[in-house]
């Protein structure tokens, strides 16, 4: 499933949040949108999911223009930063939700749904927690439920909006690896939004650097990010200067 953003622009009143953003994601690839907060990356994700309309440009999935397709019909999985779990439903019901809301003609049988849920619980190492409720889970567990829930609908595309930023480091590293292996195994096209350079380096094949609603650079993480140890607008000359004073006598 390939994804293409064609000249996406978005403004809220006078504020221009995205300005002519275009990029392409290959089938099975994990692309990262990286940038400081406020650069428009989360908005971009929401536009892809159909949660917000673009002011200009369009999104196409496998060549099909999504403009007329409402969000509920796009079959695009979305993992939110704050998990967005259904607190009154158990873990198993959360995961099954996307399957149970399908129209009767397309809905899998109860047995099939249960089997899918069991399999996902197993994949995310949550097999003992199916009957629990979100409030009883840790942050890492909640996020795993959120991913399982998104995967249950066999999405064409998986979007993740800073999925690990609310978690502590050890959990974050662990989940990163899980995500990477799941993504590889399933071959699912992913777009990940983050402000964490290490995350981008570890997870993605390509990274899109965004700033102030525009793309600054696109390329392989290691190439770009090792150049960019410092924030993008830090003048290199200053670094040079300080290095030379350091080495002169």
């Amino acid at each position: 499933m390939t994804l293409t953003a064609h000249n996406i622009s978005k403004h809220y009143g006078d504020q221009q949040v995205l300005n002519n953003v275009s990029f392409h994601v290959q089938d099975g690839e994990l692309l990262t949108l990286l940038g400081p907060s406020g650069c428009g990356k989360s908005t971009m994700l929401r536009i892809i999911a159909g949660l917000e309309p673009a002011s200009g440009g369009h999104i196409s999935l496998n060549g099909e223009d999504l403009s007329q397709v409402p969000a509920a019909k796009r079959q695009i999985g979305f993992v939110f930063q704050n998990y967005a779990l259904f607190r009154h439903m158990s873990v198993a019901d959360n995961i099954a939700f996307g399957l149970t809301v399908q129209p009767r003609s397309r809905r899998p049988s109860r047995a099939e749904i249960a089997a899918t849920v069991a399999q996902l619980l197993d994949t995310m190492h949550l097999s003992d927690h199916g009957h629990r409720f979100p409030d009883q889970l840790s942050g890492g567990q909640k996020q795993r439920v959120a991913v399982a829930r998104a995967l249950a609908i066999k999405p064409k595309l998986l979007l993740l909006d800073e999925p690990f930023s609310a978690l502590d480091t050890a959990v974050r590293l662990d989940l990163r690896q899980r995500l990477k292996s799941i993504q590889r195994d399933l071959g699912i096209t992913c777009v990940l939004v983050t402000h964490d350079h290490d995350e981008a380096k570890e997870l993605s094949e390509r990274v899109v650097i965004m700033k102030a609603g525009q793309i600054e650079e696109v390329g392989k993480p290691h190439e770009i990010l090792n150049r960019r140890i410092l924030p993008p607008n830090f003048k290199r000359r200053a670094v040079h200067a300080s290095l030379s004073t350091h080495y002169s006598v």
């Binding site: 929401r46 999911a49 159909g50 949660l51 969000a71 509920a72 019909k73 796009r74 079959q75 695009i76 999985g77 979305f78 939110f80 930063q81 704050n82 998990y83 967005a84 779990l85 259904f86 607190r87 009154h88 939700f97 996307g98 809301v101 399908q102 979100p134 409030d135 909640k142 959120a146 829930r149 998104a150 609908i153 609310a166």
Partner: protein, 289 residues
Amino acid sequence: MTSIAIKSEAKRQAPALPGQVPTTLGATLYLGLVVLLPVVALVTAAHGVAANVWVKVLTSSRIVAAIRVSVSTSLVAAAITTVLGLLLAWVIERYSFTGRRVLDALLDIPLALPTAVAGLALAALYAEGGPHAWLGRPLAACGIQVAYTPLGIIVAQVFVTLPLQARILQPVLRQFEPSVEAAAVTLGAAPWQRFWRLFIPHLTPALVAGFTQAFARALGEYGAVIFIAGNLPSYSEIMPLMIATKLEQFDYAGATALALIMLAVSLATLFILNFYARKLGSRYKGGLQ
């Protein structure tokens, strides 16, 4: 710091902010005098009511009818208010349109308007004839009589309780996390599915609280109801009026007995509201998960 002070500190945490004792004491004293004392007076007096008075009260067909009228109309009114209150809270909190703020402000009318004034207006509005029967006349033409019937009682009760349910629901709707709804959308849920499977469970404690409060309020309503009800014994006579009538006849014992029944309902309502609804509510407590 002496060891005794340390021990008591470890046992009972002093509150971080000062002034707990004077404010608590003051509030407790005030509430005790203003609210609890009258209640105690009623309970004590009821205790002194002879058994035969209780028997007379509970077996009088007129009183039993009044209880039946009061309870049934209050239940219906509470149900109507809950549905309408949900509609109003939903529309005000979730949609943006011109006049939204006006609509929200108008909801307070029953809270600010004296019940006697409301009663007067409703009686005129729903009468079958008369210069202001703007609603009563067309309804009568359809064969529906509102004034001087239990229907009129319900109308008055709905008027008085409408803001209660809406005001309880509004903050709950406001607090609902948008990302949870967005998640449901991305998973393919249609709007009505989102309503039934996300919002109704989320709103249930508030709906229960609102229904209970509306019921209690409707049960005790006096001013708004007596003008439109007609007060025909065994038909449209409500409990509060029975109590007032007994007082006028100086039947203090009978009035006390009836008042105790109503007070019991009030207290039951309070407990449901404050303990049960709060317990349910804590499961949906706001904040990030």
